[in-house]
């Protein structure tokens, strides 16, 4: 009697199914609860991976709720690759449809923020441009130049105060006000840094990411927010080592 890996896998992910025939203990009797070692290993290791990846969500919903939710998630979305650094990429979408968490409408965007932080952490290294290069460029040349951003830069936009929620839970910051936030993630050294962007900041960053000129990006940002704070946004990029090249022509 043989047990193939389809049977093994199916029974492993569904504790309600019987243990496959053909698996035994030392005396040749059915393996019984011994099979649960594998069921348990898989569930525990994937749940722990989720807890490590989504510490803010863990804190927001509590350990008991998180583990039950992860147990549902891991059976619908087992990892697609052995790179556990990518595990959980379907979590935001899962949370959008997860009935017991519907009253926490911000969870999917918090999951997106945490995924983006992890992506930033593992992203390729970039060599930042000296701030003096930017500062010494005459305005007319700056306007036509293109700003190349570091591989570790991420932008997460939300109608929820995701930076405030993150800071409240991870840094003991005051309770956030209800307002949407666009968050820029930079990696000045090895640890991602989160900064809420001023109005128009996201439009500016997106335009730069798309390869638009500095002038075009600035125009798009001010079209969205007449009071767009360019100085602060550039300061965030510079202190975040997020500008790797200024390309002219």
């Amino acid at each position: 009697m043989s047990v193939d890996q389809t049977q093994f896998r199916t029974a492993m992910l569904d504790p309600a199914l019987p243990v496959p025939n053909g698996l035994t203990d030392a005396l040749g009797a059915p393996a019984g609860a011994r099979f649960n070692v594998y069921r348990n290993n898989v569930a525990v290791s994937l749940t722990e991976a989720m807890e490590a990846a989504f510490p803010v969500i863990l804190k927001l919903v509590g350990e008991e709720f998180f583990r039950a939710m992860a147990g549902v998630y891991l059976r619908i979305h087992p990892p697609k690759s052995p790179l556990m650094m990518h595990y959980g990429d379907a979590f935001p979408g899962f949370l959008e449809g997860f009935e017991p968490a519907q009253h926490l409408g911000y969870l999917p965007d918090i999951a997106r923020l945490e995924l983006a932080m992890r992506e930033s952490y593992h992203a390729a290294d970039g060599t930042p441009t000296e701030p003096a290069v930017l500062q010494s460029l005459p305005p007319d040349r700056l306007m036509t130049a293109r700003i190349i951003l570091a591989p570790a830069l991420r932008l997460v936009r939300s109608k929820w105060p995701i930076h405030g929620i993150w800071a409240f839970n991870m840094q003991g910051a005051p309770q956030p006000q209800m307002q949407g936030q666009d968050v820029l993630i930079t990696r000045p050294d090895f640890d991602p840094v989160l900064t809420p962007l001023p109005d128009g900041g996201a439009a500016f960053i997106i335009a730069l990411q798309q390869g638009q000129s500095f002038g075009t990006a600035l125009g798009l940002a001010t079209a969205q927010a007449a009071n767009f704070d360019l100085t602060t946004t550039l300061g965030t990029l510079i202190s975040g080592a997020a500008i790797t090249k200024i390309s002219e022509g």
């Binding site: 389809t6 698996l23 009797a29 011994r34 099979f35 898989v42 087992p78 052995p82 650094m85 290294d125």
Partner: protein, 284 residues
Amino acid sequence: MLDATRFTPLPPAAGIGYKPQHFAALMQDPGSVKWLEIHAENYMGDGGRPLAQLRHLAERFAISVHGVGLSIGGETPLDPDHLARLKHLCDWLQPASFSEHLAWSTHDSAFLNDLLPLPYTDATLTRVGDHIDQLQEVLGRQMLLENPSSYLAFAESTWSEPDFLREIARRTGCGLLLDVNNVFVSATNLGFEPRAYVDAYPLDLVQEIHLGGHDEDEDDHGRPLLIDSHGAEIVDPVWALYDYTLAQGGARPTLIEWDNDVPDFPVLEAEAARAAKHLQQVPA
């Protein structure tokens, strides 16, 4: 042909499974720790701290790359993307050793993040052998195959585990990694004599030994069921089995594996120091 001499081998001394929280301690004073083992899959990102730390460590320590995700025993073909990632890592790092497990973990494109058991049959032998041939060809080097820890057996198995591993090594030219804790765990769980297993194991092919901790549980019939947790100190019976293995086969690079509830560096270093002491008592 695979040239096993192309790489500087691991020293016949104690190493530990590398954890990022021990980086500073290792760079400052590694004590008895003479080499490090990393899990390949944790160093497959594009950059950032993991790779920066690894580059620093590789300047000071011999590195063993230990894969936990290739699914060598899988019924489906090896993932070509993952093979390419392993090759990339080994190409730039040039590790002293590369090892993987006699196990499967991926099926129907789902990676289950655990080392799952195989029936020891002629069909499995052929499949695992083909996968190892493919891996060694891609990497351009010899790999070491590790014995698993077992919680159950397959009624269909026709080979003993040591014979099965010996035959794979004969067919593929791979080396072996002997996890002494796994032998102890499997022997308890499946009711065989651990020293007889070591006697049957082709120790001349063993290039590395693993030691680790396990948890104790029991099965449906109240019999002991040991769980290979890598989350505790190594127990005395495993140290005794280690001594027996060294006495039979000679000194080998020996790794302390502690992957869960990871202790502070001094605790891990003490385990490495203990292994080093056992190694020094082996006649040259």
